[in-house]
Symmetry: C2
Subunit: 309 residues, 2 copies
């Protein structure tokens, strides 16, 4: 393993100088910086991060905190995590995963958080930068533009001839759920169509039961808050003998796995996880550089499947 | 923040003594150990891990390396990751996520790896402990007992009256895929029943197409290598007008979330991710303590759904 001493010898400078080039290059002449950097490249020297951390008080490590219970962990977290790992790597940071509410500051420079609810906001006011995946007032947040997503879905159904359009939403008092319902409501109002919105727990069975009870007529469209709900609605529709894509049109939300597993495949509002992850990291790095940042909403994409025209 | 100096003052000892209690307690009297530990508890002192790392050469950090491409990432990796995070935390270790093939030793004491294939085995012979989720000769491996899993599935169908039983497997030259097929083959041989095994890519459409072509008669059972394949087979069976659970019986493999999304729900061989994760961590900690360990196969569980009697 190449040591700092090896670099110093190769560059014909003292160890102190090498260290200074790494931590305070502004104190060293350009020529010496170049010599040292050249030696580092040639020798393949990797700084002992523990040593560097003590010198800079920067750990180059970010904690990604999953606040969800294991039963609520959405399968797409694996994708989000990979995107975050890749994005942080480009900035020279490692990603540590945490599954607790302690927000222990040991060895981390900042936090990325998923699954935060209103009740977590206060604990997340920390002396280091925090960016959440989601939307909570008071925290730097990155999320899909939920209202735009369901608005797109609703408008798509209207444009394809559906006038009786239901909304299956989530019985959760959180901004993402409220915004998804808002997108539907405002679009229906804009087109002068009657609103029929329901709130359910996020599982297929609840949606199947509801649609079974409602027994919608041909020509009905359904906008849902999640692909899980859409899947449940799809099952009930099939059981009622309604055919896709013209007698009934269903649009989900998420677009990570479930939409491709159903038969017919679901038209859905796809959350752009890669863009979300990159934006979270960008905002975090900016904060670590001392910049002021603000929350970002990313426009999702409507992915057409076979559950609509 | 509480410093080592504060602990020393509270315990009426030198800083050197406090440090020794933390790293070489065997060199310090029991009475002084107790005084120092009491002071640590009272003050809530947390060791600066970077400092401790340089002293012990142990980083108390494990890297979990996902070798899969993002398109192949199984959604249940999120569950595995959470289980690993929780298990490592009990041992006082943090979990770093990596998505590259460099196996950089910087700041990690050991590796947990997922998605390793035969071609990765050589690169995984590292100077630190490695445990993989999977089964590769030459590496300490933890996996579901794949052969036992499909054997249980096959025997279940036989015991419920199915004699014509097909196997839908994976066209992958890896131990897990070969072992799942072996479990079916050996059980059929044991019962004197004819083997009919197919190998497909791991997606629902391939299974749907195959079963559509085969057009099995009522009384046929299907054992599959994954829930994805089972889902595809289930769709084709429904399209052929076969009814569950008696005209056709289908059993999948994985049991993380797909089995619950299908209609009817799938009977499946469930991988015990929690036990797998805990076992991986246990073997890793043992190796870090200098013990010799061996690979472990964990018996999966047959979870009965509505796709079989």
């Amino acid at each position: 393993m190449v040591s700092l001493n090896d670099v110093a010898k190769t560059a014909h400078v003292s160890k102190m100088t090498v260290s200074r080039v790494l931590t305070h290059p502004e104190l060293v002449s350009l020529e010496i910086q170049k010599d040292v950097q050249q030696a580092i490249l040639e020798l393949g020297y990797v700084q002992n991060r523990a040593g560097r951390a003590l010198a800079n008080k920067r750990h180059y490590n970010i904690a990604f905190v999953l606040l969800d219970d294991i039963a609520e962990i959405e399968p797409y977290y694996a994708h989000l995590l990979i995107h975050l790992t890749d994005a942080l790597r480009h900035h020279g940071y490692t990603l540590e995963v945490r599954h607790d509410r302690e927000f222990d500051l040991t060895n981390v420079d900042a936090f990325l958080v998923s699954g935060a609810r209103r009740t977590d906001v206060e604990a997340l006011h920390l002396p280091v930068p925090v960016v959440i995946y989601g939307m909570e007032p008071g925290l730097i947040s990155v999320d899909s533009d939920n209202a735009v997503g369901t608005a797109m879905a609703t408008e798509y159904l209207i444009n394809h001839g559906f006038e009786h359009i239901l909304y299956l939403g989530l019985a959760i008092n959180e901004p993402f759920a409220l915004n998804r319902e808002t997108g539907y409501r405002q679009t229906m109002l804009r087109y002068g169509l009657p609103i029929e919105a329901y709130e359910l727990p996020n599982n297929e069975a609840a949606a199947t039961e509801l649609i079974g009870l409602i027994a919608p007529n041909p020509g009905t469209g359904i906008v849902t808050a999640t692909d899980r709900l859409a899947l449940g609605a799809l099952r009930a529709s099939q059981a009622l003998g309604l055919t896709f894509p013209n007698e009934i049109g269903i649009i989900g939300f998420d677009g990570i796995y479930i939409h491709k597993l159903s038969s017919p495949t679901l038209t859905t509002v796809q959350q752009p996880l890669g863009v979300i992850a990159n934006t979270m990291v960008k905002l975090l790095m900016a904060q670590l550089n001392g910049e002021t940042v603000s929350s970002k909403l990313i426009t999702p994409t409507l992915v057409i499947g076979n559950s609509t025209p």
